[in-house]
């Protein structure tokens, strides 16, 4: 290894998992060409402090811990860094077992290999033990090279604001706010609706131990217009009936509830036209206004338009169909894919509707609705799941269950908070790492119906769990941030905004003073996507720079 300074060293750990004996490690140490210490099973933990003291004496600024597999190293690495008084990124781990496994064929397997593959004999260190050590030395030198190329990385302590902004005073929002306030966090509860908030608060908190007053500030009739800052230090600009307010908080919890999908502008995918294709809840009222002159007045009740319904919405639709058919004399056509009648009560309701004359149509694929050819009304075209042919039917009105439909309001909220929606337009990207309550943005959480949970007991549990997650984040009061976030070369940055658009965590922004993009160290999660995207090659992730990556390719 050329150019190695003594400010860096290797710790060889004798852990059995590394698959190297003490003797082998001694041999390896002599061949490394870099300062090294052999320590006993550091991953056991008890020896860390003493080892730390020995390592401090070496005066190394960076060290490479070569030992057991990486999963097992996570804890000891951090502890070792603390024991040595080094920044976390200055202590890197290396899996020696990999080298052992990679070279094991130079033992027993070697003889059989030789006949078929002449390459094996050309390799250096053809003996079993020699090959194993050579492979390990090679790996350690790679690790050292990466460490050598890594610039010194500072840490910064960021104060975490204890307050939490909870958006939406529905069941989830109220439960989250009360959970947070019970844990000592000031909570701002922002509710769009003027009246809904206080009422919901009274209903849900009456009899509870945490009173709504303590620690919770309710802002009814208010809306968050903009969110600035990052995790630990957000500033929300809130439009209240009294004017604009600035709220400081450390985290945000979105509990905006079920979105309104009734307006035709709700999205390109919305079936509603404001005239004769309506959300189910508006069907009865619109039907009562229809002129009475027609002989048979037909209505469509559409289920499963986007997603298969829940039991609750199926039940509601069946009741509505029954009422319209029996009590108001309409011919009702109920469109469904695979109606959920697994529950006993639902089964009975289904039978009653059918007996009352509701025409139940099972369809497949996409149901299409357009203006009917003759006169007024709506034509529903569908593939009948029994006939297997495309059939069309004219009705005067169609009521569509809004379950699973994307809403413009949801998209608007998502844009204000910079959170991504899933493929159905619901408030959380569909990714297992985020479940249950995280979003793409660190410090912004989501709970309740806006992320698709509409079963109340479950919803309340989730709201509580998410509030606890926010508490866990903010409770330490400070966040220790290693400044290993991307560095932007302002001379190269063309301000193309690619990084700003592609950062999944909304951590990139334009630093106007520098005239270049920049990363927020608090929000950045060090994935390197921005660097991978930048067309100007202006972005580098210090611990994963091009030179480091290329040094690993030998």
């Amino acid at each position: 290894m050329s150019g190695l300074k003594a400010d860096m060293g290797v710790v060889l750990c004798t852990c059995a998992e590394s698959r190297f004996s003490r003797v082998e490690l001694e041999r390896m140490k002599s061949r490394l060409g870099a300062p090294a210490l052999i320590e006993e099973t550091l991953c056991a933990g008890s020896r860390l402090q003493a080892a730390g003291a020995r390592l401090r004496k070496q005066g190394w600024g960076k060290l490479l811990l070569a030992g057991c597999p990486l999963q097992r190293q996570a804890e000891p690495l951090a502890a070792l860094a603390r024991a040595c008084g080094l920044a976390p990124s200055a202590v890197q781990g290396l899996d020696l077992s990999f080298a052992a496994r990679a070279s094991e064929r130079y033992g027993a397997a070697r003889a059989s290999e030789r006949s078929g593959a002449p390459r094996a004999s050309e390799r250096s260190g053809a003996g079993s033990a020699k090959g194993k050590t050579a492979e390990a030395v090679r790996a350690i030198q790679k690790g050292l090279e990466a460490l050598r190329l890594q610039p010194p990385i500072q840490t910064r302590r960021v104060a975490l604001h204890p307050a939490v902004l909870v958006v939406g005073a529905g069941p989830a929002g109220v439960r989250a706010a009360s959970t947070l306030s019970a844990l000592g966090h000031p909570a701002f509860l922002v509710e769009r609706n003027e009246a809904k908030g206080p009422e919901a608060l009274r209903r849900l908190l009456s009899g509870g131990t945490a009173g709504p007053g303590k620690g919770i500030t309710l802002l009814a009739g208010s809306q968050v217009r903009r969110l600035q800052g990052q995790v630990g230090g957000f500033t929300a600009l809130v439009q209240t009936p009294q004017g604009e307010k600035r709220l400081e908080c450390g985290a945000v919890l979105l509990a905006t509830g079920l979105a309104d999908v009734s307006s035709p502008a709700a999205g390109a995918d919305s079936p509603f036209n404001g005239a004769n294709v309506l959300p189910l809840e508006e069907l009865a009222r619109a039907a009562s206004r229809l002129p009475r002159r027609h002989a048979v007045r037909s209505l469509a009740v559409v289920l499963d338009y986007r997603l298969d319904e829940t039991k609750a919405s199926t039940e509601g639709a069946l009741r509505l169909a029954l009422a319209l058919q029996r009590e108001q004399g309409f011919q009702v056509h109920l469109f469904c894919r695979d109606v959920r009648v697994a529950a006993m009560e639902l089964e009975k309701l289904y039978d009653r509707a059918r007996d009352a004359g509701v025409d139940i149509i099972k369809y497949e694929g996409r149901l299409r609705m357009r203006a009917a050819a003759q006169g007024k009304g709506v034509e529903l075209a569908y593939t009948d799941s029994i006939l297997r042919t495309v059939v069309s039917l004219d009705c005067e009105l169609a009521g569509v269950s809004p379950y699973g439909l994307a809403s413009a309001a949801e998209a608007e909220t998502a844009a204000v908070f910079g959170v991504t929606l899933d493929s159905l337009g619901q408030m959380q990207a569909n990714n297992i790492h985020l479940f249950p309550g995280e979003t793409n943005r660190p410090g912004i959480f989501v709970a309740g119906a806006c992320r698709g949970q509409d079963y109340l007991p479950q919803l309340l549990l989730e709201a509580e769990a998410t509030a606890l997650a926010a508490h866990e984040l903010l409770a330490p009061g400070v966040l220790e941030v290693e400044l290993a976030h991307p560095v932007v070369d302002a001379d190269k940055c063309a301000l193309c905004l690619t990084c700003v658009r592609s950062c999944p965590h909304q951590a990139m922004y334009v630093d106007r003073a520098k005239g270049a993009a920049a990363a927020s160290p608090e929000a950045c999660r060090r994935c390197g996507i921005c660097a991978g995207e930048c067309p100007a090659k202006a972005i580098e992730l210090p611990a994963w720079s091009d030179s480091i990556l290329l040094s690993q390719v030998r």
Binding site: L495, L497, S502, C534, P535, A536, K537
Partner: protein
Amino acid sequence: MITAVQKPFGEIYSMVQGVPRLLVLGCGTCVTVCMAGGEKEAGILASALRLANREKGVSMEVETDTIERQCDREFFDPVREKVEKADAVLSMACGVGVQFCSEVFAGKRVLPALNTRFYGTTEQQGVWAERCAGCGNCVLDRFGGVCPVARCSKSLLNGPCGGSQNGMCEVDPKNLQCGWQLIYDRLKLLGLLHLLEENQPARDWSTGRDGGPGKIVREDMVLDS
């Protein structure tokens, strides 16, 4: 900004045949933003050329560098030596940059790696679309901020032809919006539909390409020698 796309590799490759030392020169402004010729693309193209050469047993030295802009003389200074050492420059700038690079290095062969397309905007990440035709006589005030010259396939000034269907242009009904539908919708939104009732006279095209190569002189900014 000016938008461009990289030429097909095969075309570039045959262009550089017989050049012993090639400098692939990226440009750090417009073509970086539209991801056609920035430092990253220059590196990729240089790599691809070297790999193709190795594969075919061609001996060629391929170097790469990127400057701020290839349309201003001073920015070439840092790469002067590299350019001089090379037998040809493969410029990854727009047509302006390629020509200007030739002007700065009169004795050097400068080859274009890009096809320059239009003045456009980033409609979304990875998608660029034309907005201006550089006609030199802006009429956007009369058309609700949507340009009939740039956004109608026929540059019609008095309304859509019969090929406007469902908001799309017949030239490419799947992908191309009818510029006139956009004008109509915008003016309707603004309550200015009456502007469209006016007959637009034949216009003077001499302010644009038809007037010959353009030149702008800002007298007060010209430095006295």
